[in-house]
Symmetry: C2
């Protein structure tokens, strides 16, 4: 469990402050995460990574000379928001584009993709290479669905070394892709971890058992076996990775970077015992190990587990891997770089302008504040239950994530209403605040919903039932587009789409009354949310079939129905 | 607990092999531990550290450029033997003497002091600075009795940087002493750890409590309190260290190196949260923090705990602390040193010569083999019980340590008897093997006992009861001298001294029969061993009053009596 905690809600902020204070010569805080303290003199492709906190040294600990230029740091085990990724990328852009590279998790993909879109809209060349090294998380024919674990490091490191050598964007992207194509990992777990502020473990492994392939957030593995000896585990891991030698690599005479990673409470001495046998097995097969790493590279708090990574290098990747680096947590080779600080421009991200709005739209905005307050209240009242529902098949943070987002939206809605915003701007900025503060998948989607509705309503016309129905329908389309889910996949869409359809019908019969149209659509949304109990989740997780969630409604759909019902009472 | 284990008896060997394999560019294996892979071109004072394994990066992880030249690596939580320390020191001596520096624990002091004596006997200038930073382990007026914890790093680092700059032995020693004088730490623990192969924790902390001042082997702390918040803990630790500002240091305007150390399963994110408040508190008091470190510096497997270290630097210590270093686990600053490998002389430690012996002494040596085999057998049969006795007030390794030592002595006795050694040489070499293989305090003392007896008996004269009584009496004196204990301190001396006295009396009345004299002395030794149940331990532990051991005899005295009794049956 986590012992050194104040208010769990402040944990991520405080750890980032402490991390930056302890490493002020190497990293600096920027909106959304951290960036290198030193600015490169010459233009170069910027490498931006990120993810949930709780995996140190991933991701902030890997920012510095020869590695990432910046890291977006989300809440505990929750992806950073699109705004965070965007802000970090903007802070580190050095004129030759931005490569986003991170582990393949649904929430991260969603938020990094949104940030990429925004950067591209601004004319910045932005590319993405997601890391997919975990062989347990999908079959070889579905490599793109695999999660990223300790192999993150090989991809980030080689991409960054290439950027440091002045490679252009195409070349850096190719290096990162090739490094990912040549990296395979397998993890095992012996126990789970308990997040800051929680009383019970987020997940667990039965005593005396080992979960083969369990992910760094407790994602189910491929099997559960009796605890092996260290040597037996080494054999198991090497055999599994040997069955996955990348296309085009011949093991005979090959050079291999080997990483042995500890998840948290399997300690260094044990990792060395494991590496001892791994290195013997690998060398017995005629492969030369170069520049291995044994230690804690991607952790999950005090989770007891370990992973083995094989990175099959060619000559170019070998020299990129071997290049010097100097970050808070990863230092390698001899640096001849001047590490002295160069002064940096302060926060260059301009504040937004509140556009002028019509009187009717400002009136609607005042009403929208009440609506958003009601959303905040209903989420507050149900946060524990939403967390409980989410813990059955997910990571249990839906309640706290929704709460964080809704509270941020309330604060922002009040602020922009006082600045005389129209309803469109108010919903847009409130949605952005929600997504930024909540992080994770649900944060990104709720940000999208509010922003889309706001864009449709605008700051001029009075909202009508028809316009609102159209806006809600558009928001469902936007969620489908960003989230990659469809109705029946056990997500919030299962409540949102029936609601949008009911609202469209009701608006046709009650075009003058938002209140009546909305009220008529609550029951279909609630029924649809309950019906998700009969579904299996289809997206958003690398292991699609989580039977244990059968019989439990989807927490995202439930919170959607709760909000729809609460809003009805305010109209 | 430890998960990645083969035979627990092989754990230390395997971890050292794996560690060296993973860091072959930086360290190499030498008899007794590890040494820097690179040899310095110019003569310099060699810095040698060491201690029990299980504290990585202490101690092998701190060997490399700008830090230690070598580390003697003992078994899990057991000091290295004198032979190990000696071997490592010999391997790294570079012509300007050897500074031994390590944490202040009885077993380490014993073994490092013996090694120092041997090095000095060979004309090598050898000095010692023990680290005593743990303020919880003795009062300010008894600073020399304090244990060494994470403050090890500041002392090793500054001494090594000074050696690297070409300081002579006097100057390096002074730097190490000054660094130790200016370093203070306080640790807390939330849970214990379970050693490789063990089923139950070596020690524990009640759920929801924090042990203030608990040591890295579970040594009792100064109080047990309810779990505080991270901020409350920061305040507690800073206040305690503030009450211990070293003489001659004025905090106003001072420069302070701050270390936040995690013991194993209190993870990086939590350590950063703690550091965040620590740095605020320190800076609010007008002190400037320079080059802090937050991470795992001295661990205890998966023990949940943390420590805070203040190192009050002057200008010279500041620059020594800031100097570059490059070791497996500690890398700092920009290195302009050529890290290419220079070929090293292979093991330079010559094998011993077996001196010629008289026929009667060779006969006695054959008898001694039987005696030592009987010792091995009785220890084997009682190892579990000895471990249980030791776990009540100690670290539970007395059984396994004695077993390891006695087995090594048996192997060595057989080998040298076959090489026609006399009884004196046989006992001397068997004692050295015991001490080398067992490590720890009991290993050093049993090595001393056998070596002293062997020296008195020699390889010429037939052993008589009188000579043996004199030899045993001398061995008790040697143990007193090396161990710093006396009768009544609840150690093996409580059995050995009454035995020596009884044997002296019995030899006077039965001068011709070793068998009779010995048999007459068994009962007094057994009675004295049992009587240690009424005593409290006085030495060998930094916290002298371990009431919980009352009612339990001392495991060292018990094993002494068992051996005395077993030997009687072989004579």
């Amino acid at each position: 469990m986590a012992y050194l905690v104040n208010d769990p809600n402040d944990f991520t902020d405080e750890l980032i402050d402490g991390f930056v204070a302890a490493n002020s010569g190497i990293v600096r805080r920027v909106p959304g995460g951290v960036a290198r303290a030193q600015k490169s003199a010459t233009p170069a492709v910027a490498i931006v990574t990120g993810g949930g906190s709780g995996h140190y040294p991933a991701f902030g600990g890997l920012v510095g000379h020869g590695l990432a230029d910046g890291a977006a740091m989300g809440n505990i085990f929750a992806s950073p928001s699109a705004q965070q990724v965007y802000s970090v990328a903007k802070a580190v852009t050095r004129g030759k584009g931005v490569l986003l590279t991170y582990g393949n998790y649904a929430g991260d993909v969603l938020n990094f993709n949104r940030a990429q879109e925004r950067l591209r809209d601004e004319g910045i060349d932005c590319r993405t290479v997601v890391v997919t090294d975990d062989i347990s998380s999908a079959s070889p024919t579905e490599r793109s669905k695999r999660r990223g674990i300790a192999g993150d490091l090989t991809v980030f490191k080689c991409a960054a070394a290439a950027a440091g050598l002045g490679y252009d964007m195409d070349a850096v992207e190719q290096v990162a892709k090739r490094a990912n194509d040549r990296t395979r990992s397998i993890g095992v777990a012996f126990s789970g971890c308990t997040l800051p502020g929680a009383d019970t473990p987020l997940f667990s492994v039965p005593e005396g058992k080992m979960a083969v392939g369990m992910g760094i957030h407790g994602e189910p593995g491929i099997s559960e076996v009796d605890m092996p000896t260290a040597d037996e585990l080494a054999t198991l891991m090497v055999d599994q990775l040997w069955a996955e030698i990348p296309d085009g690599v011949s093991p005979e005479g090959a050079k291999l970077v080997v990483l042995v990673n500890g998840l948290g409470s399997v300690k260094y001495e044990e990792l060395f015992v494991l590496y001892n046998r791994v290195s013997q097995l690998v060398e017995a097969r005629g492969v030369t190990i170069i520049e291995p790493e044994v230690g804690e590279l991607v952790t999950s708090f005090e989770m007891a587990g370990a992973s083995l990574t094989f990175f099959w290098v060619d000559d170019e990747l070998e020299s990129l891997w071997a290049a010097p680096a100097y970050t808070p947590a990863f230092r390698k080779g001899s640096l001849h770089t001047d590490l002295s600080l160069e002064s940096l421009d302060a926060d260059e991200l301009a504040g937004e302008q509140i556009p002028e709005a019509s009187a009717v739209s400002r009136e609607a905005a005042a009403k929208a504040v009440v609506v958003i307050e009601a959303i905040g209240a209903v989420i507050d009242a149900n946060a524990d239950e939403l967390g409980r529902l989410d813990s059955i098949a997910g990571d249990g943070d839906h309640g706290i994530g929704m709460q964080r987002g809704a509270q941020a939206a309330v604060v922002e809605a009040r602020r922009v209403a006082a600045a005389e915003a129209g309803v469109g701007t108010l919903l847009g900025l409130s949605g952005a605040a929600w997504a930024d503060r909540a992080g994770g998948t649900s944060g990104a989607l709720w940000g999208e919903i509010l922003t889309t509705i706001g864009a449709r309503l605008g700051d001029a016309e009075p909202p009508t039932a028809a316009a609102l129905a159209e806006a809600v329908t558009q928001s469902a389309a936007a969620v489908t587009r960003y989230g990659g889910a469809k109705v029946g996949d056990k997500t919030l869409l299962d409540a949102l789409v029936p609601f949008a359809e009911a609202l469209t019908l009701a608006a046709a019969s009650s075009p003058d009354s938002i209140r009546d149209a909305w009220a008529a659509s609550v029951a279909p949304a609630e029924a649809a949310a309950s019906a998700t109990a009969d579904l299996l989740p289809k997206v958003g997780r690398a292991r699609p079939h989580l039977e244990k969630s059968l019989g439990t409604p989807d927490p995202g759909a439930v919170s959607m129905a709760l909000i729809i019902s609460a809003v009805a009472n305010t109209l």
